[in-house]
Structures are given as C-alpha cells and as structure tokens.
Subunit: 299 residues, 2 copies
C-alpha cells in the first residue's frame, strides 16, 4: 500500500497520547521528544555515497526533527546492518564526527546481518528535551511563513553526487546536512508552528498549512538561494522551482505572527490565510503548481 493509506490504518491502532495522532515528525514520551528515521541504500542515499557521510546524514536528519521541536539532543539509538569492514569502519568514523559535532551521545541499538547483496537499511531514533514543543499544525491565519538558510543546495548536491560537475559546497549540503539545533532553540518560544524542510519547501509548506487547517501562499521570488546554487543552476523560474521542490534541505520552516521578526537569520517566503491548499506566485504573478511539490522518499 502507499504511505498515506498505511498511515491512515496505523491511526486506527491504539495510539500513545504523545503521538499527536501520528500527524507530526516527533512524539512526546515521558517528557522526551522522540523521532526516528530510516535511510535505505538506493532510495535515500546512493550506494556510492561515502559511508561516513551516510552516518552523518542518518544522525543529522533525526537531529533536524529535534531542531524543529526546539529540543536539545539527549542521545540516539542505532539499528545497523553489519557488512564489509571498510564500509563499517568509515561509517563508525562518520558517526563519531556527527555525534561529537552535536554533543549527542549513543544510547544503544541493535546490529544485524543482511542477506548477501541486500541494500543497507539503517535506522536512528533520536531523543531530546524541549521546554516548549512547537507543532507543525499551529499556524494561524495572518501568520507569515519563514525559512532559515538557503533552499535547493542539497538537491543540486544530489545531481553532483550522481556525476554532474559542480561546487563541493553543494555536494556537502547533500551529504553533510547541518541540523538547525541552535536556531530551533531560539525559535521555539516565538513560533506558532515549526517543521523542518526534509521533502521540499513546497511540500513541507503545504503540509504545515494542512496540519494548521489553513491555506498558504508562497512567493517563489523570495525563496532564498545560495550564491553557489545560482552559479550552478541559475536564478530563473525553473531553477527556483527545482530548488523549492528538491528534498534534503533540513532548514527550519516556521510561522510567526505578521510583523514579528525572527530571532535568527531567516527569510519570509509566504503567508497563511483562511482556506485550504498551497498557492504559488512569483512576485505577484500566480503560477500553476508543479506536478510534484517535493520528494516523497516513503511513498
């Protein structure tokens, strides 16, 4: 079955009160924020990606979910398939780097063997502590939509990882995303809603609007692009649409009351209003929505 159908069926099971109806990327269990992500070789990362970068990304994607909950990492568990010594050693080196970078200790885990030739499937579950838990669905009509950093770099980095020549900074954005933990902590007390941009700016904006029971209008002209991205992909409408629908940005997307300024560097990209759905414009000119709003790894 597809992911929405599976999720709908999971919602018919007995749910934990902290699961928030399985509508969010993290749950609250006994005062801990809990989130989990699985990466699959050939789906979420390339077989040719360096093992150390896979370790980094596996932990970083989970910490990005904690960042969106304004949480301080408490630790991670790791479910790991043992394979060849060189890959395992490089993975461990990358794991040590990312855990040190974010002061995040290892809690435990499980190691397994896979049948010969099977693609690697790796899971990390991250635990954090948060004084106030922003929800994906808390935006109010009139709120502005903001995003940290720049958008589209990781999508360009994926093209570079697949062989297209391009700047290393974009490749690094794809392979070593930087979870916005400090920004999440600063934003936590201010935002009405927050999530991370994991599957594409348009898709994650639409999800935030849907979870909030609102419509959202996004201005393509305001989507923040890096200088490296503009050099690599250009700055025209197709390049901006590609950036806004690529995945793996791991920036924070959040709602603030109109007129409020965020406490961290960020760009205002849209606004919420009564209604439903996502509308896209480019400095005032309405645009049709692209066929895919983002990258749905799971579906």
């Amino acid at each position: 079955v597809d992911e929405p159908t599976f999720l709908a069926r999971l919602r018919t099971l007995p749910l934990h009160p902290g699961a928030d109806g399985l509508t969010d990327d993290a749950a609250l269990v006994g005062g801990l924020v809990v989130t989990t992500d699985t990466l699959v070789e050939g789906v979420h990362f390339l077989a040719s990606d360096p093992a150390g970068d896979v370790a980094w990304k596996l932990v970083a994607t989970n910490l990005s979910d904690l960042a969106a909950k304004a949480a301080v990492p408490e630790g991670v568990t790791l479910n790991y398939p043992l394979s060849d010594p060189a890959w395992d050693s490089a993975f461990l080196a990358g794991l040590a780097e990312v855990l040190a970078a974010y002061a995040c200790p290892l809690i435990g885990g499980d190691t397994v063997s896979l049948p010969a030739g099977a693609p690697r499937v790796l899971t990390v579950t991250a635990f954090g502590r948060s004084a106030r838990l922003p929800r994906r669905g808390g935006a109010r009509a009139g709120d502005a939509l903001w995003v940290t950093g720049t958008i589209g770099d990781a999508g360009a980095g994926l093209a570079i990882a697949r062989g297209k020549p391009g700047p290393l900074a974009l490749l690094a954005a794809y392979r070593r995303p930087q979870p916005r933990l400090a920004e999440g902590l600063a934003l936590g007390p201010r935002v009405t809603a927050m999530t991370d941009v994991s599957d594409g700016l348009l898709l994650d904006s639409a999800r935030m609007a849907a979870a909030s029971g609102l419509a959202v209008a996004l201005d393509l002209a305001r989507v923040p692009l890096s200088a490296a991205y503009r050099t690599f992909a250009g700055d025209d409408r197709p390049a901006r649409l590609r950036a806004a629908t690529a995945g793996d940005d791991y920036q924070l997307l959040f709602a603030l009351p109109a007129g409020a300024e965020p406490p961290v560097p960020a760009t205002r990209v849209g606004a919420f209003s009564n209604g439903a759905g996502l509308t896209l414009h480019d400095a005032g000119e309405m645009l049709p929505l692209p066929p895919h709003l983002g990258f749905r790894h799971g579906a």
Copy 2:
C-alpha cells in the same frame, strides 16, 4: 566487521550515562527504559512466515527485553518498509493483535520504500517504565540461576516452519512468542540479575555470567522441556542440547540468592560461582561445551 568488534568500537564513542556501556539489552533515558530490535527477512524470519506473525514477533521480542527490565510497556515506534498490499494488510492486523494483547500503544515511526526485491528490514523501539531496573550483570557468587517456562519450543517450531511435520503449539512458540511481562514485574524486586533468553539458554547464561564477572554451571538434566517438545524431539542428551542452544525462547533468565524461591513458576537450572566461563553437566556428569552455545543472529 563482526558484531563484537563493531560493539567494541561503538563503546569508544561518547555514550549516554543510561547506556550502561552498551553491555545490556536496554538503556535508561530520562526515566524510560528503551530497547530496540531489528528483524531481517531471511535472517530473523522466513520469507514464508505469515506477515501477521512477523508483526507479532517484532513487537514481542522488544517487549521481552522490557520484561527482563521489570518494565511496564509505555509504547513502541515502528520503522516499516512498505511493500505489497496483502503483506502490509496482514502485518497491520498482526500489529493490532500484539499491541492489544500487551496494552501497548503506538508512539510513531517511519515508513520507507525498499528497492524491488530487497529483503524486508523492520525495526521496533519499545519504551517502558520500571520501578527497579534489574541488570544482566548483577549476579553474585552462590546465586542460583533460574528460567521461566520451557526451553527449545521455538527452535523446534522453526524446524516445523521450514517444513518438518510437528505440533502447532511448537510452531506457535516460534511465530508468536509470549513476552513474560507479568513475570518480569513480579521478579524485578527479587532478582540479582535478569535477562531474556533470546539467543539460546547456554549463550544467554554465559553472557549473564560474563557480565557478572562470575562462572556459571548449568545442569542439562534440569533444563525444562515441554511435553510437546519431548514428543517431537525426544528427551535424550542431543535433544536437550538442541533445546539449550536454540534461540527465540523469550523466557526470563534470572539469578536469585541460594535458597530463595521465585514468586512465579520457574526452574532452577544452574548456579554461579567465583571464576569465569560456562560449564555444563548432566546430572553430575561433566559435558564438553557444544561448538555453538546459541544462535547469534547479529554475527
């Protein structure tokens, strides 16, 4: 690399204080007992095993780790690879059954796609609350070693699942293990050490002794066998050795001071003493150790 080498390297990373040096099956994080297990198709379960039974086993193996920590289940997260609708539906039905059977709600999770033909890899992380956390390594010299239930049924059930004719009760022991949560709660305040028998009675006894810094002597003649097992496999020494080295029993293995009686039905199978290692005897006759003490899924 192999599992012990990988674990040794993980122990050089920054560890959470509740990780107990990665020496146990569960960790303590913010007052919650946390444990995680991954099942791999073709390694931990057969491709022909019914999907509902895989769901049951996936949750039950994690709840068995909670039982060994005298914990009440708080909930589970699920990392699930979507595949064909019939398998997914049967899995969901089995998941509903096992969660209802142990009053364990769903907390969250992640769904992913796998490349075509890839073996399924499923992870559950279980959360529990425990008033007192028994450790695997708490046994003292002179303590007796006890085990709940009967041993070897699941190993016989695996042979039946692979096509050997035999009683359904043994097949059920393999496919639908019953985590000993009630027994774990009753034993928690009394035991000096506790673990579950997941990889074989001999192997898990040896691990408990090693973690406790002690030697353990196990009496093969006292290993409790079910009537169904004796009918299926016999009651001679080879049959008893097979039972004591098969995996997937999910009984509780625990240490009590000499002379103390357990508060739940259980069988005394051995005793701890100063020294190191496992010795095996059969009603007084010393036996050589079999080449494999159990079933190491991960190695």
